[in-house]
């Protein structure tokens, strides 16, 4: 017993002695340990937050307007047909080892992203570039003889500091894409040493992001990465805009328990958290609405929650049945009674709350705004909706739900998915007389079943990758990779194609609006349910973090607020264009 006590004390003593580091200038909770820091492979919001500290592309998003602004490229020329961009790289842009950032670094990075063997999840962000899609697809079969050479892809270095890019179509959001992490440059010698050489993925690829190996060009470099403990970043002295960076060190802690991270925030151990439990979020939201807790920042989020219908399976292959199902969902009740921290009902796929941030300027100098499509049931009263739903179901040959087999509703394991599914199933049963079987699945079982259309109804969501309606709408083209409903409509495909080729922003938005109306007003392969809200808690000592509708939270721009100045968030609402999507962290999926 005495021995036991002695050992315990000695252990404590050893740990006191073990090295202690001071607190970083800014500490934030990243709810998940990143899978990787490789910019070609990152895809979670949490990973992007770190990635943006380490890498910077041709453009970057302004931290208050979220419009693209010069970054590694100091300026660019755009051809009259909006299909050729010539980027001029700034000479003072350097890697953290002192090497200049060259046009070739971008080409090397893009070529790597477009190599299917690298398994980047965001390779399609490069598809607007001429032949990028053909390049990727030619490599996606087992036959190397038909592989397109990379010089056929529309990107070339005119010299070390000039990069010319040809586009497949006049992509109005291309400068948003060049700010996207997947398109950032990588330091070629480092990659060739560890990760990727002569078109082959090297076995040591996981070593290149280690602090001792990583060469990056962003505002910070990585000082220490203790697996699942902390990632510590240090200001990068070679960063061209280092003068604008005011934090010396940043630390990211992977606290995955939402209650613990809230406690850590409340005690001041961390300065920023972006996820709390739904219960805490409701309480904080209520306190915020009542005028307290101004360190809690709820924001609309560029994401939509919806249910997918399997359009290949009877009775859901009948659009009337899908319409009836969608009409019966009482979205208001779900937002207010099930969720309850500011979510808004959705009848459209493109989040209607974000249209202001998608404004584009036309060649005539006028700015154009996207008008969301007309969602089915949007202007009706609840009674009208139910009446129409019952009529549609009867027209489809199932009055009062007769003759419909029990339908299975799949969702991945999560408390709020479960509550919503229960509520919706009850609405369908009460109003339409349908039998619904709820099925909660683990993620690794859920995703393959949705991908292979092995479901009747399944929960889904989408977070926009860039601020444009297209990121939502092009999902549902025939055989689109994220379609996953079996929906195939020639007219819809034609509209999306037409919008892609249309250079005038006003006309383009009109075409997209027609497509959206077709999708969620008539065909309904999905039933939108609500628009997400994002939120975060920020220590009032700090400024410089502007909330955008993708919850990017540019942590590297934070600074200690001079006393007496109200928090920056109290300033004007952010407008303009933001990009960088990312998959929701586990807690919100």
């Amino acid at each position: 017993m005495v021995i036991a006590v002695a050992v315990a004390l000695i252990l404590l003593g050893v740990m006191v002695w073990s090295a202690r580091e001071g607190r970083a200038d800014f500490v934030f909770v990243n709810s998940l340990e990143p899978r990787t820091l490789d910019p070609a492979l990152t895809s979670w919001v949490d990973e992007f937050r770190l990635g943006r500290c380490l890498f910077e592309g041709l453009t970057r998003l302004n931290d208050t307007t979220f419009r693209p602004e010069p970054a590694v490229a100091s300026r660019w020329d755009v051809s009259d047909d909006r299909r050729r961009y010539t980027f001029h790289l700034r000479p003072e842009a350097r890697w953290s080892n002192g090497d200049p950032v060259t046009a070739d670094d971008f080409l090397f990075a893009w070529r790597r992203v477009l190599d299917p063997a690298v398994a980047s999840e965001y390779f399609y962000q490069l598809y607007p570039i001429t032949n990028a899609r053909r390049y990727y697809e030619s490599r996606s079969d087992r036959d190397p003889s038909n592989d397109l050479p990379f010089d056929r892809v529309g990107a070339r270095a005119l010299n070390d500091r000039t990069l010319q890019v040809d586009l497949e179509f006049p992509c109005p959001y291309f400068l948003d894409l060049t700010a996207f992490l997947t398109l950032s440059p990588v330091h070629r010698p480092t990659l060739e040493r560890w990760a990727y050489r002569e078109g082959r993925v090297l076995p040591t690829k996981h070593l290149w992001t280690r602090p001792e190996n990583l060469v990056c060009n962003g505002p910070f470099v990585i000082e220490r990465w203790q697996f699942k403990r902390r990632i510590r970043l240090r200001r990068n002295p070679t960063y061209w805009d280092a003068a604008a960076i005011r934090l010396r060190t940043i630390e990211a802690l992977p606290i995955d328990d939402a209650n613990t991270s809230l406690l850590a925030y409340e005690t001041g151990a961390v300065d920023l958290i972006a996820a709390v439990t739904p219960m805490a979020a409701r309480a904080l939201y209520a306190a915020h609405r009542a005028g307290g807790r101004d360190d809690f920042h709820p924001r609309r989020y560029f994401a939509t929650y919806f249910y997918r219908f399997n359009c290949k399976r009877p009775p859901l292959n009948d659009a009337r049945v899908r319409r009836a199902l969608s009409l019966t969902i009482d979205r208001q009740a779900i937002c207010e009674r099930v969720l309850g921290f500011g979510q808004t009902p959705a009848y459209c796929l493109v989040p209607a709350g974000s249209v202001d941030e998608m404004t584009r300027e036309g060649p005539d100098g006028r700015s154009y705004r996207y008008e969301p499509g007309r969602g089915l049931g949007q202007d009706m009263t609840p009674t009208q909706r139910i009446e129409l739903a019952r009529r549609l179901l009867a027209e489809a040959g199932h009055p009062d739900g007769r003759g419909v087999r029990p339908l299975e509703l799949l969702y991945n394991r999560d408390q709020s998915h479960h509550l919503i599914a229960q509520a919706v199933a009850k609405m369908w049963k009460d109003h339409l007389g349908l039998q619904i079987e709820l099925k909660q699945l683990e993620r690794n079982v859920f995703s393959p079943r949705v991908e292979t259309l092995d479901y009747d109804i399944a929960r889904g969501n989408w977070v926009g990758d860039y601020m444009d309606p297209m990121t939502f709408l092009d999902m549902f083209v025939t055989d689109g990779g994220h379609n996953q409903t079996g929906f195939a409509n020639v007219e819809y495909d034609r509209l999306i194609r037409q919008a892609t080729q249309e250079p005038h922003p006003g006309r383009r938005f009109e075409i997209l609006q027609q497509a959206e109306t077709l999708l969620i007003g008539r065909e309904l392969p999905i039933a939108p349910i609500y628009e997400y809200v994002g939120y975060y808690l920020l220590n009032p000592r700090f400024g410089g973090l502007w909330p955008d509708s993708q919850l990017n939270l540019f942590v590297h721009r934070a600074f200690v607020q001079p006393r007496g100045v109200p928090q920056t968030v109290a300033g004007p609402e952010p407008h303009g264009s933001a990009s960088a999507g990312g998959t929701l962290p586990e807690a919100q999926r």
């Binding site: 017993m1 073990s18 899978r35 996981h206 403990r229 802690l253 992977p254 995703s447 990779g481």
Partner: protein, 310 residues
């Protein structure tokens, strides 16, 4: 004694082989796609690249005999985990096992010290307030789930009193709360075992003899009685040590301790096959090791028990 140790050590590879085989079979029988890690669509070629990376393209016997055990767990080439693409399985175990061992050793010492003290005290002062208090605390320790105790301690010491940090790992102060939380159920169970064992023994003839010979009450209790009362506790210590030292998912999650317990659970829901195999095998090795130590200690404490020397 030596023969016992040698024989048991020789069994280790066979037991590990069985554990490994059963785990592989269970992993293979689990539904779900181990490659579906992201939310994004996976193109056929990306899937094929991942299959090659994680050796799903190989025949099962090659994976079973070579890729998983040798290439991935031992020589550590080229083979990151599914969930943590920048880290290999040995690195993950190497980073998390020492954490679990440190925390576990601290908690284990606490549990032994606290459990034995409480057990002996309550047996010696049977039916006094000390006894009632210690029995009541032991009941609470056994019946309250760890996540309740953990959250309660965090709120009390971290938030209200503000004397201990909320979570994390690396400083001595960060060990105390998770250590106490982890040790409580074991401590409580040990207290009950000790108390019961002591009460059994105290009535025996040899205790009366010792008293009659004039041995002081303290010495009777701590040396004569305790030595025999300790045997049931001892057989509990082996599995308890293995369980404490290899980490606890709940404690690690509440206090953000980067230990092994998290990987045991996470790897299963991620279908991260080699991490599953790595953690299961590590746990097996610990269990066998501590059971062997316990058996050896039996013989040392009670010379009548000489396992392996029938």
């Amino acid at each position: 004694m030596t023969r016992l140790a040698v024989r048991r050590l020789l069994q280790v590879p066979f037991v590990l082989l069985v554990v490994y085989t059963v785990s592989v079979a269970l992993v293979a029988a689990t539904p779900g796609d181990p490659l579906a890690t992201g939310d994004k669509e996976m193109t056929p070629e990306a899937r094929r690249a991942k299959e090659v990376k994680y050796n799903y393209d190989q025949p099962w016997y090659r994976r079973y005999f070579y890729t998983w055990p040798i290439q991935r767990l031992l020589i550590d080439r080229d083979l990151p985990a599914h969930r943590y693409e920048d880290w290999t399985v040995p690195e993950i175990l190497g980073a998390s096992l020492p954490v679990s061992l440190q925390l576990g050793l601290f908690a284990f010492c606490l549990a032994v010290a606290g459990g034995l003290t409480a057990g002996i005290l309550s047996a010696a002062r049977r039916n006094t307030w000390i006894d009632y208090l210690s029995v009541a605390l032991a009941m609470i320790g056994i019946s309250l789930p760890t996540f309740v105790i953990g959250a309660g301690l965090l709120i009390l010491f971290g938030l209200w009193l503000g004397v201990l940090p909320i979570g994390g790992w690396g400083q001595a102060r960060q060990v105390i709360l998770p250590g106490v939380t982890l040790s409580l159920p074991f401590m409580a169970y040990m207290a009950r075992l000790t108390r019961a064992g002591m009460l059994d023994v105290i009535g025996e003839d040899y205790i009366r003899t010792a008293r009659a010979k004039g041995v002081g009450p303290r010495r009777v209790l701590l040396v004569h009685a305790f030595k025999n009362a300790f045997l049931p506790v001892l057989s509990y210590l082996g599995p308890a040590a293995a369980a404490i030292l290899t980490g606890s998912f709940v404690v690690e999650k509440i206090y953000t301790v980067p230990g092994m317990g998290t990987h045991v659970v996470e790897s299963v829901s991620n279908r991260d096959q080699t991490v599953i195999l790595g953690t299961v095998l590590t746990y097996s090795v610990f269990l066998m090791l501590f059971n062997l130590l316990v058996d050896l200690a039996y013989g040392w404490i009670d010379p009548r028990i000489r396992l392996g020397e029938e």
